[in-house]
Every structure is written in C-alpha cells, then in structure tokens.
Symmetry: C2
Subunit: 435 residues, 2 copies
C-alpha cells in the first residue's frame, strides 16, 4: 500500500515527541501498520523545537496543512480551543482524517466536530486526549464493546495525584506541596485547571460518552477541587483504611448518568488506591467483564506521542479494506515477523536471586557462603539470619543477590551445597525489579 | 450494513457465556458495531447448556458450521488442540473469519493457522486466549503500536495467583491451599497445567510474539511452577519488602528474547505485586509510553465472553471499508448516541461521606450529631473521636456515613453546623467503595 502522509500542526512538547518517536521507531511502526507513515508536512511558529525537522516540509501556517492535497491525516497538537477547532473543521472540510490530543476541544466541541466528520466520512481520533499513553479510549470503545458499562472511576490528572501522594507520604499541606509541584514542573504557574478538576472534567466527559453512548456534555460535569483537603483529612482517611484520590467518576444509575470530579475516599486495598505520584489509572466496570484497570503515564512528551501515533496507525488502517491492511494477527505484518531473533536459553538469563539455605549454627558459615558467591562475581544485596531456636543447631540463612547469569549462580549453588556447614538443598527464586 | 452471521462451536462455559452476553447486550453491541451480530448457527454435543438456544439453528456437527455458506465468522470455543485445529483450518479454507479463545492451540499451532488465514485473506482473532476479559492483546497490538516493547511481565494464571495469595494471607502451605482451590473450583483435579506454568507459558508466548514481532515458539519457553514454594519463603520475601508472584516474563535484550515463567520476588510497592486472588494483570514496558498495566478477570464465562464478542465486533468491522463501519468516534454509531439520557444533578447523587468537624469537648455532642443524621436517614459506619489535648476544649470528630443522597446530607450538615457544640464549618469528602 502507498505511504500514508501525515501533517503535524504544532511542535511543542507533544508534537516534538511525536516526531522523535516516529523517527526512532519507524521500522516497528511501519511493520505494524502495513504501510509507511511519512511526515508530509509540519507546521509550527517557533524555531526552537525539541526534534529534528531537517529535510521536512516546514510551514509557519497551520492552515496550509489542512488544505494540502498531499496530506491524508492532519495531526492537531497546537492545543487551545478556537484556532484548533477552526483548523480541524477546515481539515475535515478538505476530506482529511484528524488525530488530536486536545481534550478541552473534544470535550467542549466534540459533538460539532464529529458531526462534521461524519458528514464527510472521515475519522477523528483522540486517544491522547485522555490519560496520555494509556490506551483507555481504545479499551472502552473496542476492548469492552460487548459490555454495558456500569461505571468508571479514574485518576486522570497527574498533578492532582502527585499533590495528594506527597501530602500523604510527607504529611505536608496542600499549598506547600503545590509549590514543590510547580518547581518540579508538574504543576502550572496557574494551577486552577488541574487542582480544581477542570482538566479531569474534560477527560471524564470524553470517557463517559464512550462508555454510555451519550453526546459530550461538559457543562453538566460536577467539579470539586483538592485545594481544601487538609493534611489531617489525609491522616484520618488512612486511620479509617482509606486513601484520598481526586477521581473522575461516571456512573449509570436509575436516575440517569452521574458525571462528577471530586476528592474521594477509597478503600486502601483497591489497586487504584495505590496509584501514586503523577501516574494515571482508570477503573472500568463492565457488566460482563467485571472490573478492569488501566494504568500508565498520563502526560509527557513520549507517552502522549505513543497515543498519537497509535491513532495514526489506526486511521491508516481505515483507508482501505485490503486484508493486508487489517490489524495483523500478531500485530506485525506476517512477512515482517522476525524469525531470526534468538530465544535466550535460561542458563544465559540474568536476574537477581533469593536464596534460602539451612546452615549449621556455627561461626564462619556466612563468610564461606559469601566467598563462594564473590568468587563467581555475585554480591549479596540483603540478608536475613535468624537466631537458632533453643537446642536447634540448624538456622535458616536468606540472601538476596545482585543480578547474575543463571549458569554462574547454579555453579555457585552447587559449591555452597557441598559445604559441610550447609544442610539440604538451597531454595532459589528469581527476583525482578519490574521498573 | 447487512447482519454479520456468527457460528458458535462449543457451548461450554465460554460458549454459553458468549450466547448469554450477546442476547443480553445486543442493543449496545449492535450500536457499537454498526451492524447486527446474529447467531447463524450453534454446534454442541451436549443438551444441558447454560444458555437459551431456543430458536437457534443447532447442530451436533461442528464441521457443519465451518462449511455453512451462511456463516461469516466461526467462533471456536470447543477447546483442546487436534479437533480445534482441524475445525479452524476447515473454516479458513471455506473463507470464514475465525474467533477463538484457545490459548493452547494458538501457542502451539498459531504459525500454521495464521499462514493459512493470510493465504485466504481472512482474520483470526484470539483476544480471549490471554488474560480473559482484559483487552491485553488489543492494547499491545494496537494501543502501543508506536512502541518498541522492552519487556512485559504478567500474572496470567488465576489459579496460581489465588494459591500464592492464600499462602501469604493465611500463612498456609502449598498443598493445603491447592486443595482449597480445588474445592472452590479455582483449580482442576489435575492442577499440573496451572501450577507448573504450562497455561501461563501458552499465554506468554502469544504476548511475546505480539510484543516483539516474532513467530510463536512455545517449545522455547522456560517454565518453573509454584509447587516448591514454601510458606517460609513467602514470609521471608515479605520481610525483605517483596511478594512472590508466578510471572510470565518476556524481555528483549542484547542476547535475544527471554521467555520464562517462574515464581518471582517483586517489590511490594509495585502495583502488580498487589494483584491478588484469581485476578490477572500484565505490565508492559514500551520505550515511548513507559510502564503500563492492564488488570481484570483472567477467566470465567462472562469475562471471557466479553473478549470473544469484542473480537467479533472487530472482525465485523474488517468486512467493509465503509466509513459507517469504522470504530465510531464515541464508540457508538453517531445516530445511536442517546441524548435523552439525563445527567443527574449532584444534589441527587448518592454516596457515602467522610465528615470532619470540630466539637466542644463535653458530653452529649456525639449523640446530638448522630440524632440529626439519623433524622435524615443517615447512619454512622465508622467514627474517630480524638482525646482533647491538654487545655484544649475543641476535639476533632470524624465520621463515615452510609450512602445518602447529597441534598439530604447537606441539610443535615447545616443543622449540625448550627449546633452550639460544633465550631466552624464541617469538612466533607465523598467515599466510594469502587467494587
């Protein structure tokens, strides 16, 4: 299939991230899409951009992209409302598909934009508008398409979640933590949009429309911010077994649909209560699937670019009904599967280890064990050595090692097991940091 | 668009669940799909099925479905390998698209099946094969399509996770907990498949192929079960700040791809370390998006049916390139958006409440407060009453109420605030159980 040409409007944080990720990962992206995704034009008003635009067709006029007959998909990353709305409507008018990360625009003018797009038979995709890199729109819209959605609840503003997490972890007050967040670049100079829940309301109204099949109704969202949460409330909530999170909640009930953003006590043991810092998560309850949760980075250049580019691949797929252009069985086009990549034998795999052994309760055992590990280049990261129970001569010895290649560790274990001061086999379990 | 006709082979747990969910939710499913999804035929060998098949075209011969010219999509839910493989290849040969929940079949014969399907230009979808209702295949394959996947780690066997969770929570041994799991129906009479990691290996190999774009290589997965985990290992892991989970890990490194299923110590503070009981979760690290996590039910009739039906909707979309047949902007077809659904005013919303007030430190205050709440039909679920500090006459009083309608609570709060024994305004924060 011929290349799909995109026109990127706006090279701020997200725009630059999109160019960077597309350049870096073009091989895998094209192998998944089944066609080449090519930047046909970029439009930006600034010279200092955080990406390489050499060799690209650059214009200062974003509207040029909307009317450029070469462009298949316009990528709106300028932000704001009025100009972005005009730009997108112009692109639609010219038969272009649109990808946008603009939550405010979709929440406030989505109905108009979708009506225009529907009329023209073009796609408007906006995965990046909600929860950054988490494919939450795709999950609800496609992954849970068999479900009546009963409710959803999301931590969909990273700034607010960072502030509440810091208040809890450090016992500090709202204003103090807000200042810190501003210094770290997690909060704007005017934080109203984030801390009063307006940003979360934009995202909530989009999720709710997709969940329940209703038009976007931003003006009907109830919004309450976190600025009045006192440190003692955070503390008392903990004592009661809860955590305070700033949630966007959409729920269908007998009276209709509830749309509300407010601080909420939720039981500590819920997974979503443990989503901390600037991370986002959305909990969705479907009648068939039950509760499902989606977690990841809710903002940032590359996480947002990840969503923008996934939308571009999706839109590219809609351009034909060619079988080669569907989502491939294994994500990559059949002829692009890489059978030359080796699967590593377990002996060559490197992980940290938990080791538990039974040792005679006499001096020098630990140093013998440590010596054998050290000779194999393995060091001890943590240790539990229990006192012998009365009369008992055998004590458990528990070690966490640093990362080591399996076969070296196995050799060391055989030597340790042969020590006269060690009885019985050694239990070993791999350790992964998962970060 | 004309109806899409599906033929369901197998009416066991998942097959019956699929029929039930499709019957119950046909309105939302069709409104999302943009066409009617119709059961053209069902094939099963048993009479006692857990769904209503009255009025349906029922056959005892599954192969009849594979050759029935009326059927667009064959749904393979018979399980097992040899007959299922033959059935799917026959359906493909007859130009039918296929949806399956069969992880063993895809893991062991997916390469052959996909090659045949590719040849014929038909789709094979298998979201239900991994992690039940969690749309994890869609997430990696489409949601993260812009990323180089660095690694993924999943709790992808509910039986094993239930056993490890019980061992931790109750300090019991593997065999004892396994028996309990068998009584509860969470483990098979022969539990080998689950506890030795074979089931997880099937799922892992599918996820890894999608993540890295490699052919399915089930025979190269390293597999280690959980039967040798001792209660003291669970205990020592906790002391070291870790939890033991049975993970499937796929990781791309300089030596190649690691594919391994084994018990693993992971830091307690990771979200995935807190996924308990029979629930599943997959943590995926992409180079652009960073870590993302997907959580939900990994098995069961309706969660699995949710994934099967989502695949059916997806496949139905591939049948034409009509704009009306794409994924709709808001998930539901434009003309199906329900503008008549009311958004509930916040005054009518019912939630539980956290209330914090400052009370004079004298007898009878609590009973006055409780009386006012009780008069409004609100009861107290939990209470913190702090001692007055020396010399201080004001004490904090913290209450958790049961669920109450906002306007009733607000009225009660006004009355409480007017009490002479209560000073200053009352802080209130909503409480949600999120279950």
């Amino acid at each position: 299939m011929k290349p799909v040409k995109i026109g990127i409007c706006g090279l701020g944080t997200v725009g630059s991230g999109t160019v960077n990720v597309l350049h870096r990962n073009s091989r895998v992206i094209n192998a998944r899409a089944g066609c080449d995704i090519v930047i046909g034009q970029v439009a930006c008003r600034r010279d200092d951009v955080d990406c390489d635009i050499s060799g690209l067709n650059v214009t200062r006029d974003i509207f040029e992209v909307a009317t450029n007959p070469d462009i298949d998909i316009l990528i709106e990353l300028i932000g704001g409302i009025d100009v972005a709305r005009e730009l997108i409507l112009k692109a639609i008018e010219h038969g272009k598909h649109v990808v946008t990360a603009n939550k405010a625009l979709i929440a406030e003018h989505g109905n108009e934009i979708f009506a225009a797009a529907n009329e023209k038979g073009v796609t408007v995709a906006f995965e990046a508008a909600v929860a950054g890199g988490i494919p939450i729109i795709k999950a609800i819209r496609e992954g849970l398409s068999a479900n009546k959605i009963e409710w959803l609840a999301g931590i969909i503003n990273g700034t607010g979640n960072f502030i509440l997490t810091e208040m809890r972890d450090k016992g500090r007050g709202f204003s103090e933590v807000l200042e810190e967040a501003q210094e770290l670049g997690y909060a704007e100079a005017d934080p109203t949009f984030d801390v009063e829940g307006i940003d979360a309301a934009h995202k909530l109204v989009i999720l709710a429309s997709i969940a329940f099949g209703i038009p976007l109704q931003f003006d009907k969202v109830f919004t309450e911010g976190i600025s009045r949460i006192a440190p003692q409330d955070v503390q008392y909530a903990q004592e009661l077994g809860y955590r305070i999170k700033h949630l966007g909640i959409a729920q269908k009930g007998p009276k209709g649909i509830e749309l509300r953003v407010h601080p909420t006590l939720i039981p500590q043991k819920r997974l979503i209560a443990n989503v901390d810092g600037v991370m986002n998560a959305v909990l969705v309850k479907g009648d068939a699937v039950g509760p499902t949760l989606y977690y990841g980075a809710g903002a940032g250049a590359e996480p947002t670019a990840s969503a923008v580019l996934a939308d571009i691949v999706d839109v590219a797929r809609t351009l034909t009904a060619d079988p080669e252009h569907r989502v491939p069985y294994l994500g990559f086009q059949q002829e692009q599967l890489r059978s030359e990549l080796e699967i590593v034998p377990i002996e060559e795999v490197e992980t940290a280890y938990y080791l538990r052994m039974s040792a005679l309760d006499k001096p020098g055992v630990l140093s013998q064990v440590a010596q054998i590990l050290s000779d194999s280049g393995i060091s001890i990261e943590a240790l539990i050595q229990k006192e012998a129970a009365d009369e008992e001569e055998i004590v458990p010895l528990i070690l966490l090692t640093n990362r080591a290649v399996e076969k070296q560790l196995v050799e060391a274990i055989i030597k340790i097991e042969s020590l006269s001061s060690i009885t019985g086999p050694i239990t070993r379990i791999r350790v992964e940091p998962l970060k």
